[in-house]
């Protein structure tokens, strides 16, 4: 899309052009304003919230929410630590393992490629379901409350392996591999020195998919993580939101424990938690989003 005009030709009238742009400005705002509201509320003074509610233009701004969150900075740091660890370890392992599976089944001369393709493919067709997986994870693999329970579920994404296989098939010419072999390179060497460097676009795309997946995951933590020092950031956010909601809904409980109500994080604090949780994505977003769109078309060719 290097040309400066859209692919359809024939001018829209000036009016319809303005209306079209207006519609997209509204649509863009619709997508962004909720995020902005949460950010603004996190900087709103408690008294302002009581009198005017959550507003885009608060009467009084305040950093109090962040001040009180950073008083309890150990929790936040721990959440970040867990999330970053899981994301980095998970992404690195995931991309490597998927490439190591995709490469052999991409090789036309590999005699077992159909067997292994089916072995992978069948997991897309049928799964044991959540209960069965939960019981296997907790009773057979014994990985409840461990980082492994957060990493394992997203390590191999069958559909992405298929995309990688297709990329290898279409990008790496068999003659390249053959000539490397004649030069005396072993399979592992060919894979590491030739195949991987030639496949950087697809590897980067998969790393991006995987990073977003691990960073945003909270469901596996909900199922498997019990100790607080292993809560990833997203799950921590979920707990903050739900616990407060729970206390508010239970008036009796609150009446019995007036102190609990008093110490309840106020609403700007909740929203500050959300800002801290989505911060990294929002900051990195302008840089990675175009690669994401590009990446979608990397695997568009199907084999």
């Amino acid at each position: 899309m290097a040309n400066d005009t859209s692919s359809s030709i024939g001018g829209n009238s000036a009016l319809s052009n303005v209306l079209l742009n207006l519609a997209f400005v509204i649509l863009s705002l619709l997508c962004f304003l909720p995020v902005l509201l949460v950010i603004i509320v996190s900087f709103t003074d408690g008294q302002s919230i009581l009198t005017q509610g959550y507003s885009f233009i608060p009467n009084k701004w305040s950093f109090i929410a962040y001040e009180s969150i950073f008083k309890d900075w150990m929790t936040i740091v721990s959440g970040y630590r867990v999330s970053i660890t899981i994301t980095i370890a998970g992404t690195a392992l995931s991309v490597l393992l998927m490439a190591m599976y995709a490469y052999p089944i991409s090789r036309a001369d590999y005699p077992f490629r159909n067997v292994f393709t089916f072995f992978l493919f069948f997991t897309m067709l049928f799964n044991g379901g959540m209960v069965s997986r939960y019981l296997i994870y907790t009773q057979a693999l014994h990985i409840k409350d461990s980082y492994m329970a957060l990493i394992l579920p997203m390590l191999i994404v069958p559909f992405n392996v298929i995309i990688m296989r297709t990329f290898f098939q279409t990008t790496i010419h068999p003659a390249v591999i053959e000539s490397a072999r004649i030069d005396g390179a072993g399979e592992l060497r060919i894979f590491l020195r030739i195949v991987l460097p030639l496949s950087l676009p697809v590897l980067a795309t998969m790393a991006l998919f995987s990073t977003i997946g691990y960073w945003n995951d909270w469901f596996n933590a909900l199922l498997y993580i019990t100790s607080e020092d292993k809560y990833p950031l997203q799950y921590l956010m979920m707990r903050v939101l739900n616990d407060v909601q729970y206390l508010r809904n239970n008036v009796e409980l609150a009446a019995q424990n007036p102190n609990m109500m008093k110490n309840l994080p106020n609403e700007s604090l909740q929203m500050a938690m959300a800002v801290i949780g989505m911060g990294p994505i929002l900051i990195a977003y302008p840089f990675f989003q175009k690669y994401f769109v590009k990446g979608l078309t990397v695997g568009a060719v199907k084999g």
């Binding site: 400066d4 005009t5 859209s6 359809s8 030709i9 001018g11 079209l20 742009n21 997209f24 400005v25 649509l27 863009s28 997508c31 909720p34 995020v35 509201l37 509320v41 005017q52 509610g53 959550y54 190591m100 599976y101 490469y103 052999p104 005699p111 077992f112 067997v115 292994f116 072995f119 493919f121 997991t123 897309m124 799964n127 379901g129 959540m130 209960v131 069965s132 997986r133 939960y134 019981l135 009773q139 057979a140 693999l141 394992l152 191999i156 392996v161 399979e187 894979f191 977003i212 960073w215 945003n216 995951d217 909270w218 799950y235 979920m238 739900n242 977003y285 989003q289 979608l296 568009a300």
Partner: protein, 311 residues
């Protein structure tokens, strides 16, 4: 293994390609642990599991779990919710994604189009927990933006959103469209970008209006993509986005009649009621229906466009 001409050639192939096979080993182990072991675990649905005897030692009960499930009346509710929401989401997202793609292609300034696109795919990258915060900022009963600002401005009474179920079908459809329609458009934008401009030039010479160009060139060209995307989403019609139905309504009990889907039901039965029999029976029903849907979907795709079929 196209043609094995005997055991010795098999051994020979094994030896010759041992490096490639060994390379796959780690991923094979992951697939075994994560996917295949749970497949064998579906027998749990036919057992009355108690933690005293463990999953292996618990007694077999045949189809009792299923009988209980179907007679409880929950089944109707969760199946109806799951299917209706899936269908609505499918139609909504399709219409919105295609409209956005067609419209964004008409933006004259490509730079502006890219800026709009960046904004409208943003929601796709936010986790459902973040989304639940965003929704909460609008719907919170005391200070939420809707109650404290919008309804107040119109002199309306506040609505207790998290306990009044009649609004939630609309809220959920909206949130789902908000999160996915923009990103769904990207695929159609790519498809439209692939259309040869000569078609439009020819149409222009013939004096075709913009609307005619859209209905007679753009839409017919992206029709195969529309069909494939629709059919692919049919494969997951019996599953639901857990985060959307659990976290966005804050797991509020008053809303269960309209927010309970197969996935949230299985979760609650397992984690909150500790009813392994019931939850595993539901999960098995979901897996089997899912399997049938994927197979049926694929054979439909095959009939329309062999190239696009998964197998």
């Amino acid at each position: 293994m196209s043609r094995t001409t005997g055991f010795s050639s098999f051994i020979h192939a094994m030896w010759k390609y041992k490096a490639l096979t060994l390379m796959m080993l780690p991923a094979v182990l992951v697939l075994l642990a994560h996917s295949y072991l749970p497949m064998f675990g579906i027998f749990i649905a036919f057992k009355n599991v108690n933690y005293l005897d463990g999953i292996w030692g618990s007694p077999w009960v045949g189809f009792d779990n299923f009988q209980f499930l179907f007679s409880s009346g929950d089944m109707w509710r969760i199946v109806r919710n799951t299917l209706l929401y899936s269908l609505t989401f499918m139609i909504m997202n399709l219409v919105l994604s295609v409209s956005i793609a067609v419209a964004i292609n008409e933006i004259r300034r490509r730079l502006l189009a890219k800026v709009y696109q960046s904004f409208i795919i943003l929601p796709h990258f936010l986790s459902m927990v973040v989304v639940s915060y965003l929704v909460y900022a609008f719907l919170q009963p005391d200070h939420g933006f809707i109650n404290a600002t919008v309804l107040k401005a119109f002199g309306q009474d506040p609505v207790f959103w998290y306990s009044e179920k009649e609004y939630w079908p609309y809220i959920l459809v909206f949130v789902n469209a908000w999160k996915h329609a923009g990103f769904g458009a990207v695929i159609y934008i790519a498809a439209i970008a692939g259309i040869d401009p000569e078609y439009y030039e020819a149409a222009l010479i013939d004096g075709a209006s913009k609307w005619k160009q859209i209905t007679h060139i753009t839409l017919p060209f992206i029709r195969p993509v529309i069909i494939i995307m629709t059919i692919l989403s049919m494969g997951s019609i019996f599953s639901s986005d857990f985060g959307l139905f659990f976290q966005v309504p804050m797991n509020s009990g008053a809303l269960y009649p309209v927010t309970d889907t197969v996935d949230t039901y299985v979760y609650r039965a397992l984690m909150q009621l500790n009813d392994i029999g019931m939850s595993s029976a539901t999960a098995l029903v979901q897996s089997v229906v899912g399997f049938i849907m994927v197979i049926a979907t694929n054979s439909m795709v095959r009939r329309i466009d062999r190239e696009q079929a998964l197998f």
